[in-house]
Symmetry: C2
Subunit: 432 residues, 2 copies
């Protein structure tokens, strides 16, 4: 048996293989995760609500034969606290919903439970998955933000408390915390996963996301969520032939560290014979437009989703009230124009780069900023999210000694499987 430390940091698929091979038991992994969690949670504060070790082990033992025959073997999963769970409150980071106990599991939670995953707990989210942070700290530097809104999921995974967690993204809520904490963060093409039981923020933009420590674990969880016949089957990684690089400058500020992360990724890709082209000024201009379209769509829809909450402004943060006020003032015609433009640009952009396999772009403006009262700027994700494209953060770069930073790969709509195979190849050439 390995030491506790290395067991908690094993990837999900590696852990399952080791259990299968008899190197250790699921209980060894579970206990290692709890060891890590109990040591670190007092300072990282990734969990809004969770099972303690005794409760977890009691559940495991009660259904042990089911877990032993299941895909996920009873290993722990974290669930962002805007996703309904029938056995734990779902508070959405809002005082309005303190103690709110849903009656049903979200469909994604049911899929995980049926596959033998155990919901260890609910991870901290910003208020309604928008801006106002919870208490979570960046596990790599406790003075810095973990990013948001999937703050707790990114921190818990990056800190090896759980191998995987569910997140969600409407603007930058998976990609950015993954980049700041040093996790792999994946956002599915919109519409691919069931969102039943996930609190909507903006229906044209909301996507379910996953956080893990490797691309192969993302692929496994995606297979489970999509009810694929053999989610453990791993297709071969695919080397990209040609990649278009977006430096992000047209979207907003990008600091030296992120520029270096992009350049270093480009060098590695080139070194392995991947053809690299730069995004044209015209295409970059379209990305800039998309930032505005994203903000318009989001504001319009948020105020039409958070209807009962908007009537209690004394319990909402200022930024959320601002967003709601902006949304109410947007006309249907302007909103629709933004949606239609975003769709048009998506087709235009990928048509221009029809011979490319991937886009490479910054996942955030730079490393996690100091302070946990803000979650960092979301603009680096707005264009891709407005186009509903699948995206993934790959970590690997480290600055200032121990601050992780991830870059973002962007795929074609609904070609998520291909994106993940390509991303797994790229992951292999990045520093670990």
């Amino acid at each position: 048996m390995k030491t506790t430390d290395s067991l908690s940091s094993l990837g999900l698929r590696r852990a399952l293989q080791g259990i299968e091979e008899g190197l250790y038991t699921a209980l060894d992994i579970i206990n290692a995760c709890f060891d890590q969690l109990e040591r670190r949670e007092p300072v990282v504060k990734a969990w809004q609500c969770r099972l303690n070790r005794e409760e977890y082990l009691a559940q495991y033992t009660k259904y042990q034969s089911f877990y032993e025959q299941s895909i996920l073997k009873g290993l722990p999963v974290g669930i962002k606290d805007i996703i309904d769970t029938a056995n734990m409150p779902t508070e959405m980071g809002s005082a309005i919903h303190k103690g709110r106990q849903p009656v049903d599991d979200a469909a994604c939670v049911s899929q995980i439970r049926q596959a033998g995953g155990i919901v260890l707990g609910k991870t901290v989210t910003t208020e309604f998955a928008y801006f106002k942070p919870g208490d979570t700290c960046n596990p790599k530097d406790l003075l810095r933000t973990p990013g948001g809104s999937s703050s707790g999921s990114a921190a818990a995974v990056a800190d090896s408390m759980v191998p995987v967690a569910l997140g969600s993204q409407t603007a930058a809520s998976v990609i950015r915390p993954a980049a700041y904490c040093g996790a792999v963060g994946y956002v599915a093409s919109r519409g691919d996963f069931s969102l039943r039981g996930i609190q909507p923020l903006a229906q044209s933009l909301d996507s379910l996301g996953l956080l893990a420590r490797s691309v192969e674990d993302i692929e496994l969880m995606r297979g489970i969520l999509l009810k694929q016949p053999s989610p453990l089957d791993l297709p071969a990684a695919q080397k990209p032939t040609k990649v278009v690089v977006c430096d992000g400058a047209a979207i907003g500020d990008v600091d030296g560290a992120m520029q270096a992360a992009i350049q270093s990724t480009v060098l590695e890709l080139r070194r392995h014979g991947v053809d690299i082209i730069e995004m044209s000024a015209q295409s970059s201009g379209l990305l800039k437009e998309l930032v505005d379209h994203h903000q318009c769509i989001m504001a319009y829809e948020v105020c039409r989703n958070l209807v009962q909450e908007a009537a209690q402004p004394e319990l909402l943060s200022e930024p959320l009230i601002d967003l709601i006020d902006r949304g109410v003032a947007i006309s249907y015609d302007d909103y629709l124009a933004a949606r239609q433009q975003a769709e048009k640009i998506r087709e235009q952009l990928w048509a221009e780069y029809a011979d490319c396999d991937l886009m490479l772009a910054p996942a955030a403006p730079g490393v996690a900023p100091l302070g946990i009262d803000k979650t960092g700027a979301p603009h680096m994700s707005r264009p891709w999210q407005a186009m509903n494209l699948p995206v993934i953060t790959l970590p690997g770069h480290v600055f200032e000694g121990n601050l992780p930073l991830g870059v973002q790969l962007v795929g074609r709509l609904n070609e998520d499987q291909s994106l993940l195979r390509l991303a797994r190849w790229v992951e292999g050439v990045l520093p670990r």
Copy 2:
């Protein structure tokens, strides 16, 4: 003051105007609705759960000054029982969810409450808005189905128990019951309304719908749900210039009554100078393809939404189990191809009829079939729903003495406002 009878059958907007003009009070309307409801509900069985008159009046009285200043003046609204309400159970027509009490209102329910509507109750739905009917009878002939899945909403509105009700449509769940009961049924372009708190069946197809007794009441409710600044403003009706007619034969069986309803509508339109063309054989062929695409998308998504329910097959109907089994067997690639084809056909079809304002099509194969153990065939709606287009049932035709039958108008994606203005004009030339 008018007699009770005519007060309950007043349209929503007419009732509000009369209250404004001092002809009667909101309480007169409310009491007239309860008179009608108490007389008819024992045989029509439109309600799954509801306030009784005393409870309703107590709520009205408690907040009377709010209601008096509100848009909807405290008038009653029916809510399909797959839409969450914080003060009443939401059982989705399923034994699995008997007594299920949601913690929050759906966003659409919050919008209605904030506009001064009172939720009179939850209307009967088929099991999870799919096939298995509840107890509701067609108010025009108690031996016949009201259609489904928005059975209770259509029956309650057509029978003048409430002026308006919310429904939803994934296949034919608003259009068909409206046609069978003699109500106006509208299904919004997918994505226009917030679906927060509405139980999803198939996310690529689900739309919120409205049932009322006139197009102008649909427009009013749509304005409220979209948070429009002046939902009471009524734009001028718009006469269509050119209409393309689909006889439905390529989609499936259409009986003599529906053929007559379409022909009579065409005659009225022609008589008023509207140019009419017939849908080409090629386009009709595309509609036939869409039926298959719709079934593929629906089965794939349903089994990935009803995850926890699928684990309790002993509490599900046979048709639903069949649907789930079919869905599990569909590959992601086949599913995606169906979605993409449906989108492509939508663009192709409306491009071919770019000079037309509307499509006219059967809303059902014919009048409501005898028996309440089935809800009639849904195929006449599958093509339009697969394309996510806005549609509306206009009643007016009557067969065999008293059996209503509606025809369907189809608009362009997201041009719902234009569809409704055109539909209001068409409504004016149809028999009443």
